[in-house]
Amino acid sequence: MKLLRCPINGPRPVSEFQYAGEIRTMPDPDACSDSEWTNYVFNRNGAPGIKKEWWLHLASGIWFVVERDTSTDDVQRTYLFGEEPA
């Protein structure tokens, strides 16, 4: 991957972006069990596949979602959080 499409700024060199990991849902810390909390804090889905990830465009401070195949590095699509195309 050399270019990544920011939903606001369009395609930019990948060096302008910061990867921030797969999007995960935090369980309610007051309601979940210790093992559910441990699972959230430490465990990751480490196997290859198409994942939804957080990325940041450093130059403009825009956080957005990237759907990417982590075995081929092909980006399927990028969009702002909550604005997932149908």
């Binding site: 060096s15 990867y19 441990t38 465990n43 990751r44 480490g46 290859p48 982590t70």
Partner: protein, 395 residues
Amino acid sequence: MFRAPERLKASYDVVIIGAGGHGLAAAYYLAKDHGITDVAVLEKGYIGGGNTGRNTTIIRSNYLTPEGVAFYDESVRLWQDLSCDFDLNIFYSTRGHFTLAHTDSAVRTMRWRAEVNKHLGVDSELVGTKEIEEACPHMDLSCGGHAPILGALYHAPGAIARHDAVAWGYGRGADRRGVEIHQKTEVLGIQVDGGRVTGVRTSKGDIATTKVLCAVAGSTPRITDMVGIRTPIYIHPLQAMVSEPMKPWLDPILVSGSLHVYVSQSARGELVMGASLDPYELHSTRSTLDFVEGLADHMLDMFPFLSHVSVNRQWAGMADMTPDFAPIMGKTPVEGFYLDAGWGTWGFKATPVSGKTMAYTVAHDRDHELIEGFRLSRFAEYELTGEKGAASVGH
């Protein structure tokens, strides 16, 4: 050098997934120390073709945690006898290892590491610029003026070795003792009944077994998914490159955390160089130009005279990263399934001791005392083994 068994048997006492240094070392010590020879080592590619053949071969034990120092120091002791043990020259070459400090805070960390190391009997000390200059007169100690070197952690036993020979030595030794090594044999699934391992499904047929050791470096999550275990491991590529060969001029191994460089000169005269991890998850061994440009830039800060030297090759491996920069080793919640994983960017130097301790763990179904701090359950117990301060380069 090896037999190539034609087909798999219907069952084995132990199946080891991965014929890299770690898997073959475990097979070797299972046969040699514990008399367990009914062992199959399964490899989807070829012997030593994964991270064993892709690292920059640095061996050292100047870690930060007592668990890490004890473990890696035992490994250095094993390394020193390995050529004799194998009757095969692994080109083990003790060079001395400098971890350069460019800031006051780095000097403080080096002093801390030196004191931990000395307390645990490891040869390690803080040195000033005079000692560095004597050992490496070719280096620009000001690093282009923007990152002047203030001192270094010096570790006299730091060494390099021929990585392929390590896999071959362990493989040949295991093979001669009756272990079967099956190359081009991919594991497709692992059968678990009532929380116990019962068999392995491969591209060349099914095997019954009660003990499986997973030693697959950057492919661990694919295997742990087969037995339903979740781990903190995530995969980033780690790249490296070598220069064209030159006459010997660089004796010690040099590491700079601030400049993200580690470099040594191999027996062939090539400079073997690495930097930090690629910045995002990827299950691929592709190379990038960004990496060469960034690393060459920092190499020239240290050695401006290399500006006319060309880069001959570059490559990548997939690193099993963990949140505390320590490996994940030993028993798991699935009975008979053992992990030798989470080797991130620090696996090559641990090859002998991981083989030795994993063989013990598999033979006795009990974690060896040297790897207790690396158990998978440490995360659920919030007892991490924080090695981050000892990583050579800011990963």
